[in-house]
Symmetry: C2
Subunit: 303 residues, 2 copies
Amino acid sequence: MSILVVGSTALDSVKTPFGEMDDALGGSATYFSVSASYFTNINLVAVVGEDFPDNYINLLKKHKVDLKGLQKVPGKTFRWKGQYMYDLNQAETLNTELNVFADFKPRIPEEYCNSEYVFLANIDPELQLEVLKQVKKPKLIACDTMNFWIERKPSQLKKTLKYVDILVINEAEVRQLAGEKNLIKAAKTICSWGPKALVIKRGEYGSLFYFKGQMFSAPAFPLETVSDPTGAGDSFAGGFMGYLAKSRSLKEKDFRRAIIFGSVMASYNVEDFSLNRLKRLDWKQIKQRFLQFRKLTYFDTIK
Amino acid sequence: MSILVVGSTALDSVKTPFGEMDDALGGSATYFSVSASYFTNINLVAVVGEDFPDNYINLLKKHKVDLKGLQKVPGKTFRWKGQYMYDLNQAETLNTELNVFADFKPRIPEEYCNSEYVFLANIDPELQLEVLKQVKKPKLIACDTMNFWIERKPSQLKKTLKYVDILVINEAEVRQLAGEKNLIKAAKTICSWGPKALVIKRGEYGSLFYFKGQMFSAPAFPLETVSDPTGAGDSFAGGFMGYLAKSRSLKEKDFRRAIIFGSVMASYNVEDFSLNRLKRLDWKQIKQRFLQFRKLTYFDTIK
């Protein structure tokens, strides 16, 4: 079952204590697509400028990402420049050039309109809603957002959330969006606006899945080397949605496994810069880390 | 199998956004004892002043805590005054009066010297070592410490750690003690000094157990109401050591379960001020939350 993803494609310049890269492949939709491509087929809707390198296009093609929805328009590609200090949870943005992304209007190709799985990466909630109007019979809609939209377009975001099944969002943003410090209460509030479930991302502490008043908790994989956390959240979303689409089932046990597959993909992603680690994964490695997650969290029950 | 615990007994005045209490029962050894008392018998070594209320003594007696090692000396009991703002991870100390605790010299009663399970709560590492010299054939020694000792007595602390099996310590202190930002590398470093395992406490994010190069991760229990986090770490240690002493086994699977029982006791403790929640628990409630932890973390494996 293929997934429609709408979001950004970018050229990132990133510096961390472990190295730096200029104009590397980035963007929320890009990380999501390559991550999810290990599970199912991806239909990408995004925009790039005339300067977008062919080898990045080839990388996406190699992962069988369908590019009919990737608009190439006059101008320069969206660029983000940022750095991380030793606290790898906190990115410091040094420069943002929206370029062609400033006028991005997602056009969903006719053959994508029957997509059953939809991921709205972090873009303007009004554009997210426009996308949903073009999709005919979605089975599962997940979306991401960020503090920028929570602060600037709260009512538009709430309107979009009415149609969303799963909101994928980080812990601080859950509290900010709900205006509530306690995470469970905040999750309840947000779910009263539409979403049936929340994926709460907690960086190096892992994630929580909130579903019908229940919580499922997954740790992040403890790593000795974290090179670059950029894209961890979108890689997570890719593994999460990818597994759900592949399994074609939306039972609670599927969501639990999907959260672990999301955690697996995020953990690989941060091991190298840009998509350098994600692009050379294989199913054996993904499965191996899934089993390591099992070992990391398993304990015998009691009678 | 009984546990010898050496640490502080205190009168705490605590204010949180959810209420306040004056001269409430507190202290590391107190929280540990009452928590562990649900699993096994406890031998307490600590000191109180003449002002220590009888009803607090009675509370300990009710939990069958052996008080032969509780010294009552002229002067006032150790007092701590602190507050928590909405970030319940961070205590702000308003006042500390060491009083009789300033001259505390742990004297281990003869009948405690054969204790097989020993917990050294957070006191001066030189006193911790003095205790270990008095214990004859311990099977398992665990100890806690804090930034105060890491900064002021690093060499004495390292000397004590040579004889310790399990160090129970919070995440920031692991990094501080090892002088290393990466948690796995820091854990390896500390284990090279003596401890066979580390219990790394992460507040609202739960805990990690590091053992022979392996990690086990446990979340904290998501709660809608956290009234007072004071004593969470010592309640955790009580459940952890209590289960190990009760099970009389030190296999990896026992450590995993012990971490969950620690998490259970900590989660109950923070639901009310002082020992108000811990003191009225029963085994059915403990078991129920253990099973909730199982549900919180369980996922089906893959083939």
